[in-house]
Point group: C2
């Protein structure tokens, strides 16, 4: 018996089941009735960008986002130029994959620096060059605020409000924001900021994972399966809906526990949990 | 040769050198010319509150704060009553120690709950009973916002702005805020919120530790020695000064690396780093 199709807006971010190859990902999503995937640059480039584009399009899958560009905070001209080069390549890859959106993680503080304001200013400067170029290639940039626990080493943009302050320096068709429940759930300004983002037509992607403790060493791989933590994920999705967001909701969970299991089983669980806690 | 006295505003939080007994702490601070200490309830109660008060007063040390009360987010009446009882005991201990301030950590989400707004509301409700009682005993309560990475399991008050929103529901002589650089450094609203806190006479304690990565498992014991991380600690102290804060600056570092070393050596390093990075 064929299972019921997955919820219409569910998109599977590739990193959630990173044990799958790209062909396994596409086959698994097709079998489960998942209509969209979020892709990451490293596995896509390892498989081949063109080959991935063909595979995904052939299966009728939508690419809800490509992760990720960014890392714009270098203070030296060479670092800035290298970041621009890499991001232009990322834009070209997103375009070839048929993605609308390239997700940007801004970068943390350069080694030895303590100037958050300066680092945030440099992001705007790089976006000024990258955003029009990306738009000309049909790709909208999505600034993703990460949880403040990543402010020093990954992303000096820590709230949706900050991401919007940056995005709004550019036309909405060039730069938007990515709202991930895992990074933003604690922020009492989130409801107002999501509305502001929606009213400006700035929400380019929505992602979900749950918050569980204790955090593991390094904090990066501590995300929880939907429903295992304390985030009101349905409330979050409803806020995004109320802000006018109608596109896929990506499940993006970095969890060694999920990676150690059978991919198809994990996807069944993700779909089930999404129905229970998000849909 | 006697070393130069420690910087006048430096206060040593007891947990920074937790390998020291209370007599060792008092002797070590006296020898190094440190004029104030921040105390914790557990070691103080183990040694005896009265005995601690006598020891500290006999050495002429100021008690810059007592850590900590709080944990107000229980949703059930029994949990709420138990929290109130425990906090009344903490107030009595603070008064006996001659501290002006009891530091409060609000508490996280109760198990199985996902309602941050509700939990934050319950804090205000408990403060409504506790704050006048504490003031009558000569103790001001200090709401300490913790880093958002502790929002689920320790403290649903994540920014200085939120702490002020809570504190301002009560008279300034009853409830203020604690500003710890480790928890707040990432927040772009910090300068404005510190000014707001100062203008309202709400800053009851200032603490410093540095932000270093990677975070250890559980995140709690990952604080860095002053100068080892990325926080502009001098900028933070200057903001507090500009907001009118004139009282001790407590060094509060939870670090197994420091705890494994000779206490006197750690204190010399703390004093040296404080001069280099804070004073």
């Amino acid at each position: 018996m064929k299972p019921a199709p997955a919820p219409a807006r569910l998109s599977l971010n590739q990193e959630t089941i990173r044990q799958w190859s790209l062909p396994e990902l596409v086959a698994g999503c097709t079998a489960a009735g998942v209509g969209a995937v979020g892709l990451w640059r490293d596995p896509v480039r390892a498989f081949g960008v063109r080959e991935t584009a063909k595979l995904v399009a052939g299966a009728g899958l939508r690419v809800s986002s490509l992760c990720r560009g960014g890392f714009f905070t270098a203070a030296d001209p060479a670092g800035r130029a290298a970041a621009l080069d890499d991001n232009r390549r990322a834009v070209a890859e997103a375009a070839e994959l048929g993605a609308d959106t390239l997700v940007l993680v801004s970068g943390g503080l350069p080694p030895g620096e303590r100037d958050l304001v300066g680092a945030r200013g440099r992001i705007a400067s790089v976006l000024g060059e990258l955003a029009p170029w990306a738009a000309a290639h049909g790709i909208r940039l999505g600034i993703e605020p990460l949880h403040p626990m990543f402010a020093s080493d990954r992303c000096v943009v820590s709230t949706l409000g900050q991401a919007l302050d940056l995005a709004e320096q550019f036309p909405a068709e060039q730069v938007g924001v990515v709202a991930d429940a895992y990074h933003l759930w604690w922020d009492e300004r989130l409801p107002a900021d999501l509305l502001r983002a929606g009213e400006g037509g700035r929400i380019v992607a929505v992602q979900v994972a749950d918050w569980v403790t204790p955090l593991p060493e390094g904090a990066l791989l501590g995300r929880g399966q939907l429903g295992d933590g304390c985030i009101d994920l349905r409330g979050f999705r409803r806020l995004a809906d109320a802000a006018g967001y109608r596109d896929p909701v990506e499940v993006e969970i970095f969890s060694p526990g999920l990676w150690a299991r059978d991919g198809a089983e994990v996807l069944r669980e993700v779909i089930d949990r999404y129905r229970q806690h998000v849909d």
